[in-house]
């Protein structure tokens, strides 16, 4: 890191948001190109999809999903911070409410499928 002396939680959140965003933007063309094979070359697409059985690819997928989720929540956090003129304690409560809702909905989802 260029400036570890001034690292603090919100600064780290900024770096995470930026790095995940760039990562997703670089992944998207590949994602689109592979999916479009459904039209041009379905057998090759199947070949690519079979790659997802590979544990290294699986790990990369987990990384991408994490990047997507962390970018989304980081972005929602940013918009809440910018557009909702809340006090810090209200923000903490709201974040907790969202987190707990997701936990419960996630549990429900895991049970349901």
């Amino acid at each position: 890191m260029k400036t570890p002396a001034r690292a603090h939680p919100l600064w780290v959140a900024f770096i995470v948001h930026r790095v995940s965003g760039v990562g997703l933007a670089l992944f998207l063309p590949l994602h689109f190109w592979v999916l479009a094979m459904a039209m041009t070359d379905p057998d090759r697409l199947d070949g690519f999809l079979h790659l997802t059985e590979n544990s290294v690819v699986k790990l990369a997928e987990v990384g991408l999903v994490f990047g997507l989720v962390v970018h989304m929540f980081g972005g929602l956090r940013l918009m809440a911070l910018e557009w909702l003129p809340w006090t810090p304690s209200q923000k903490t409560l709201a974040a907790m409410a969202v987190a707990i809702s997701f936990l419960i909905a996630g549990l429900f989802f895991m049970k349901a499928i």
């Binding site: 002396a5 001034r6 600064w11 900024f14 930026r18 910018e82």
Partner: protein, 240 residues
């Protein structure tokens, strides 16, 4: 009564002759970072340039980078920043260095004006003095930012200022937010235009270094968020 020796490294500008950069400074029980710099200038190297005036945290002229962090040196006790017995002191970040620890503050103040951080009066001396409701929401917002001493610590702390030359920076934008909320100021349209321009509040990434390092505990990040809110409202209202 000295309590040992401090190893002080000064990040000095390259001069014609080799200026010393590492000094051994006697440690005292009560000693600010500014005291340390002054000791060097008075006892070791009279050619050292640095800037200070009030020594009590009001004038905003003595800010420097201390171990990579921007601080008001007159109100920072050396024991708070020492790394063992060593400390590195440099000129403020994000501003051109004039010599040694002195930076050119012009870009900082130019941006203050560019953000419309000037008084926009609507009344004359013949008008009655406006009654101010100290409890109103707008006044509370305005009061939150008025203790800024223009020390440029937030400007030096901000990475967006480093990487985006046009960006007006936290202090100037906080001033714009303060004036926007001040009923005595009549520059609403001019301020909203100024902070919506290419160097305006929308370049802020809310990394919050301004708020973390402000020596007066002000909150420029939230002030800039306020500007984003107001300009977003004006976006929907005026469709610009």
């Amino acid at each position: 009564m000295t309590l040992g020796v401090l190893k002080v490294t000064l990040e000095r500008s390259a001069g014609l002759e080799q200026a010393a950069t590492v000094f051994e400074v006697p440690a005292y029980e009560n000693q600010t970072v500014l005291d340390v710099v002054s000791w060097v200038q008075q006892n070791a190297d009279p050619t050292l340039s640095y800037r200070f005036a009030c020594r009590v945290g009001m004038c905003g002229s003595c800010a420097m980078m201390v171990n990579g962090v921007p601080r008001w040196t007159c109100r920072t006790h050396i024991s708070k920043v020492l790394d063992g017995d060593a400390v590195t002191i440099g000129p403020l970040r994000n501003l051109p260095v004039i010599k040694d620890l002195v930076v050119d503050m012009d870009p900082f103040f130019d941006k203050w004006v560019a953000a419309e951080g000037v008084h926009h009066g609507a009344l004359t001396r013949d008008d009655p003095i406006e009654a101010i409701d100290e409890q109103s929401d707008a006044r509370v917002e305005a009061n939150a930012g008025i203790e800024c001493i223009n020390c440029s610590v937030c400007y030096a702390a901000c990475d967006t200022v480093t990487s985006n030359a046009d960006y007006l920076g936290p202090a100037a934008l906080q001033r714009a937010w303060t004036l926007l909320n001040d009923t005595k100021d009549d520059g609403r349209a001019a301020i909203l235009d100024a902070v919506s321009d290419k160097g305006g509040c929308h370049n802020c990434h809310s990394m919050g270094s301004c708020t973390v390092y402000c020596p007066n505990d002000l909150d420029p990040m939230s002030a800039i968020a306020g500007l984003k809110r107001e300009t977003a409202k004006s976006f929907f209202k005026m469709g610009r």
